[in-house]
């Protein structure tokens, strides 16, 4: 879409300046996007690996829990687990990846250490095993949640940056370039017509001088 542009030197300077800023902004955003994609892929890969590792650990914990349920019955098991008074505490530290705020989470102190909230007389040893496995996996689950959070936040930011880069690359910069070119051509044209006019006047002047 061609805008109505005033073909003046002043406008040309303005457009040139805006073009320069847009190009610089585009380059900066593109660099940021590249770096962010690199970090994003690294985190995505890490989350994928951590999840497959956790899957095995949790499957093991769940197997032990099933065994415990088989030995003592589901009701005793549920009852034993309901008695817990534990409260896990997770520390949060704000962190930033290329300007995107992401959380750094960590399980505090011994909160995730297996403490068995039940009497050992009625429950099976398999339940202890299950809880120990789960307690080992818990800090990793927190780490995974933090990584996945970062992945989701970065994905959102990357989508936004991509849109901005595309808008600069395909709309704003071409439009400014077109405007600069239009004004330059218009000014050239005006200059040429001015020269022709001067030449004509000169010619007429010389002619009139010859006749006199």
């Amino acid at each position: 879409m061609q805008q109505t542009v005033n073909a003046t030197r002043m406008q040309l300077t303005t457009f040139r300046r805006r073009l320069k800023i847009a190009e610089r902004g585009h380059k900066l955003l593109k660099d940021k996007q590249d770096e962010m994609v690199k970090t994003f892929l690294q985190l995505a890969r890490e989350s994928h690996q951590l999840r497959s590792r956790l899957q095995q650990q949790l499957a093991e914990a769940s197997r032990y829990q099933q065994l415990a349920a088989l030995t003592t019955g589901q009701e005793v098991l549920q009852h034993a687990l309901m008695l817990s008074n534990n409260q896990v505490e997770i520390s949060y530290r704000p962190s930033s990846i290329l300007g995107v705020s992401v959380p750094e989470l960590e399980v505090e102190g011994s909160a995730a250490k297996a403490s068995f909230p039940y009497g050992f007389a009625e429950t099976s040893g398999n339940l202890d095993q299950s809880l120990t496995r789960l307690a080992e996996a818990f800090p990793l689950l927190v780490k995974l949640a933090a990584i996945e959070k970062a992945v989701d936040l970065l994905a959102d930011e990357l989508e936004r940056i991509r849109r901005r880069v595309n808008a600069l690359e395909h709309i704003l910069i071409p439009r400014l370039q077109q405007n600069v070119k239009f004004i330059e051509m218009k000014l050239d044209e005006m200059e040429r017509s001015n020269i022709v006019r001067l030449m004509k006047i000169n010619e007429q002047r010389e002619k009139s001088q010859q006749t006199h």
Binding site: V37, L54, Q78, N86, A135, A145, D156, L158
Partner: protein, 105 residues
């Protein structure tokens, strides 16, 4: 200090209570979605049993809204695909294609 929440089918995630996490029971993804909107920033993480996971768009949408809580799927034996699907969705959102070759769909 922040708390941890675990959402799962009744009787499946109780073990997390022994670790000190708060356990919430749900029986379908719609209930989970309702629960998710009620969590405040007191919770640092919310783990959802993978077999109850709401749609990936909802999860990624909620997760990319604010810094806390971090929502993640808890691997259970029956369905390992949901978490992978979610990661693939984020990947496609960010770079346009599944360039890590996570497979599926």
């Amino acid at each position: 200090m922040y708390k941890a929440a675990v959402i799962g089918r009744p009787g499946t995630v109780e073990a997390f209570r022994a670790l000190g996490a708060e356990v919430f029971a749900a029986t379908n993804p719609a209930e989970v979605e309702e629960l998710l909107t009620s969590f405040t920033a007191d919770y640092a993480i919310v783990l959802i049993s993978e077999d109850l996971a709401p749609a990936k768009e909802v999860l990624v949408g909620l997760n990319s809204k604010q810094v806390l809580p971090a929502i993640s799927l808890l691997p259970v034996e029956v369905s390992a695909e949901r978490a992978l699907e979610k990661l693939r969705f984020s990947l496609e959102k960010a770079v346009g294609a599944d360039i890590l070759g996570l497979g599926g769909e």
